[in-house]
Symmetry: C2
Subunit: 101 residues, 2 copies
């Protein structure tokens, strides 16, 4: 039995590196969205440039296994993470919806 998961990645981005971050994020989003089990993704940008977390990505996958398989079958991802790490601190984790209104 599989169930949908939410990937949330909270990014603290070095000031002035926002546009480079968006470019890098788009590169990988284009790859990941072609993988089986991808549902949707939204990159949120803070309205306040001074916010601790300038960008937060919220994505839905059909299952934890599909997400893991998408990562494992994406050999460019490690290089991408190295580039991101130069300008941002990432905090990716999988979530379920506990309560909603």
């Amino acid at each position: 039995m599989q169930s949908m998961v939410t990937l949330i990645n909270v990014f603290a981005v070095s000031p002035g590196k926002e546009e480079e971050f968006i470019r890098l994020w788009n590169e990988t989003a284009h790859l990941m969205r072609q993988k089986p089990g991808f549902m949707d993704t939204k990159l949120h940008r803070s309205l306040n440039p001074g916010a601790q977390f300038a960008f937060i990505n919220v994505a839905h996958w059909e299952s934890q296994e599909a997400w893991q398989q998408a990562i494992d079958s994406n050999p460019g991802l490690q290089n991408w993470w190295q580039q991101i790490a130069l300008i941002a601190e990432a905090n990716p984790a999988l979530y379920k919806v506990e309560v909603q209104y």
Copy 2:
């Protein structure tokens, strides 16, 4: 001209305090959802108990002004924040959707 905003609140919660956190979160969610301009909210819980951010709340409001007004017209909120602060570190900020697929 008003436009929808996304409130994302990233919570680091003290281990063992997860259920108390959910109870407190629900108390205020019940109040906030009755305010004009509230659209929806989802409290996400990490699948990995060791994740840095155990809970992430993603809410939509019709405008930044409506959200601000909801806070200003909610006198119990300050007391709630004081209770939350005993068990969690909160990082609330407003976001717009920069990219989506």
